[in-house]
């Protein structure tokens, strides 16, 4: 079987638009008087954006309450295209999103080389860390500005960082710092850390340990959840035994796939809250969020998608909006102009979280508030009041300039 022959979905969304009075009016013979009203639309400029993702196999679920959502991110990028297009009506710019959704068993690299490399300069990626980095580092990938709307890996923002990749979602370090700030505010300084067996769980646990050190908390106990029993049946007795450790204030769980974390709350030996990847979570976006105009985008997204906006949708929305903002301000569709503007101090993106959003020039991470959400209530928004920074409090979350190990500005 030829990998290229696989079923590929390539959709080009060309938002049709019209501008009233766009046609030049027939000129009168005497040209001395300029027209009283300037023509609204200059020549049309097209900004081409590629959207690249790979479908995922449906993972084993702990419960059947929440349906699995395929292609998270896609509808977010489409909403942003329609927002950009509205602005484009007035500026004479048109935004085109070409979608490349690779099936589970498809060959991402081949599709990239065939259909994207050399043809697009702006790519929104929903790929996992490893394939993103491989493509961004390839010959064709180096001529592209990548917008990573899927990963939270700290390594992609540190020793593995690339000069041509911007990250829209908060890193694990930012999430862990957000939780740590909240716990410090509550004076919950003794943490019991419970970690799953997946490699991602270890990465999030590492971020939690870094945050504990940074904010002066103590991890009084750490245990690995081994999945040796069926939590659905025996959680009641097992979690009680499992959580019999030294005195602690809060149980911090690291279970990114959601394989056991939900079963900890209410079942621990001591009555302690659960925080981390379940219980109180740190996220870029949440359905409970309604401040700072968030209600408006929640409504617009729901109307279009028929479901709540997920983190990846929010990230892909921001990616396409960032491109739109840069293209509008620079009146350009050129990669260099767009990238320079995005990384300049003038760039300020509205992200419905109260602060202007921008990118950290040292590692390409979008600086942003992190929401701390319980399933049905928004508990807090980090940075938590009182955590100060000389430039912007947003930089109290994650890796700040002096500590970065990324050398993003060095072109390989």
């Amino acid at each position: 079987m030829h990998p290229i022959n696989l079923f590929i979905i390539v959709l080009v969304l060309l938002q049709g638009w019209t501008v009233a009075d766009a046609k030049p009016k027939p000129k009168a013979t005497a040209p001395e008087k300029p027209p009283a009203v300037k023509p609204v639309a200059p020549a049309k400029q097209i900004i081409n954006i590629a959207y690249l993702s790979q479908e995922q196999t449906v993972p084993a679920a702990l419960s059947n309450l929440d349906p699995f959502i395929q292609n998270k991110g896609l509808l977010g990028s489409e909403l942003a295209i329609s927002d950009n297009t509205t602005t484009g009506q007035f500026t004479g710019q048109s935004f085109v999103l070409s979608k490349f959704i690779v099936p589970v068993d498809g060959d991402v690299e081949a599709i990239f080389n065939n259909d994207i490399a050399g043809k697009f300069q702006l790519v929104v990626s929903l790929l996992p860390a490893e394939s993103l980095n491989k493509l961004a580092n390839s010959a064709g990938g180096k001529a592209i500005l990548w917008f990573d709307a899927a990963t939270s890996d700290d390594s992609l923002r540190a020793e593995q960082c690339r000069f041509n990749v911007l990250h829209l979602l908060p890193s694990r370090a930012m999430r862990a710092d957000a939780l740590a700030q909240y716990m410090m505010k509550k004076r919950w300084t003794k943490w019991f850390l419970v970690v799953g067996t997946a490699p991602e769980d270890k990465l999030f646990a590492d971020a939690i340990k870094r945050a504990a050190k940074r904010f002066g908390s103590t991890i009084v106990a750490e245990k690995i959840w081994e999945h040796t029993y069926d939590a659905r049946r025996t959680a009641q007795s097992d979690v009680a035994v499992f959580s019999r450790v030294d005195e602690y204030d809060v149980l911090v769980v690291s279970d990114e796939q959601g394989l056991f974390g939900e079963y900890l709350d209410y079942r621990t030996e001591s009555p302690r809250p659960v925080i981390g990847t379940q219980g109180l979570i740190a996220t870029a976006w949440h359905r409970t969020h309604e401040q700072w105009g968030a209600t408006q985008i929640q409504n617009r997204f729901k109307e279009q998608a028929g479901r709540w906006m997920e983190e990846q949708d929010y990230a892909a929305y921001l990616a396409v909006r960032a491109i739109g903002e840069a293209a509008t301000r620079t009146k350009s569709n050129e990669l260099t102009a767009i990238k320079d503007y995005i990384l300049s101090p003038a760039f300020a993106l509205q992200g419905y979280k109260g602060n202007p959003l921008s990118f950290r020039p040292w590692d390409g991470q979008m600086r942003q508030p992190v929401l701390l959400a319980a399933p049905r209530s928004l508990v807090a928004v980090a940075p938590i009041e009182g955590f100060l920074h000389p430039k912007t409090e947003l930089d109290t979350l994650g890796v700040d300039e002096p500590e970065t190990t990324c050398r993003m500005n060095v072109t390989p």
């Binding site: 009203v37 602005t87 408006q296 300020a348 509205q350 109260g354 202007p356 409090e393």
Partner: protein
Amino acid sequence: MRNKLLALALLSISATIQAETVFVSLEKDNALAIVDPIEGKLLKTVPIGQRPRGLALSSDNKFLFVATSDDNTIRMLDAETLKELAKLPSGKDPETFALSPNGEKLYVSNEDDSLVTVIDVASKKAIHEIKVGVEPEGITVSPDNQWLISASETTNMVHWIDTKTNAIVENTLVDPRPRAVNFTADSQQLWVTSEMSGTVMVLDAKTKQPIKTIKLEVDGVTFDKIQPVGVVIDKERKRAYVALGPANRVAVINAQTYQLEKTLLVGQRVWNLAFSPDQKRLYTTNGTSNDMSIIDLESQTVTKSVGVGSYPWGVAVKP
């Protein structure tokens, strides 16, 4: 002659003694606070409808209009008795709106639908819809009734709409997330606040282009807390005042030189501003400290804060 002068003097005394009334919409209390600003006292709170936000008085001060967002309507009240006279068809979730100077039209921003709805006040009917950018918010009409201005928060534009034709004539790109728009009394300048960039732009009504962009800065406050919202300019265009949102301050700007003169500490998350009729005082609504501040403009000091209720949003002043 002497009698006439005496009568004038008496008249002016009685005019200064007569207290003005400040109306404040309370977003979370579903109510309207009535404040005597001279005494600095909350007189009473009256229920008004679900989630009241935008607030305006007709220029003859006879009618008070209140956008009750969650009721999807703008209520028209008798400004004296506060009796409800009508519910206007504002469209969904009305937040901000503007009255034409002659009181004939009311223009509403419909944020979710990217529309401005035009309401004929006499017939109480929606007579027109104008398609604008994404999330229209700030809205105002020039005092000479020539321009209707709508600012789109996500499109980052100010739309210049001809009030005679209801057509967009020009669009000006402004700084990120424009919130409030207001004309100078002579209709020559439009001032626009941008929440995400911490700036105020002054646009020339003739060229529709910026004359000046004023960056607002406060010592000891990080740049991203400076989020300008409401803006008012005095009649002589000596000074402009800008509410700085979570920076908890009002900026005082010299409207001739465009220099930031000082900032005044008020309540938390200051949203909207209104002058007293004689422009000697400025009233602010402070969203999260549940109060309003009274600023004496001669001494440029905050003289009083008055607790009004939960989430004070809009403010209007009746002489």
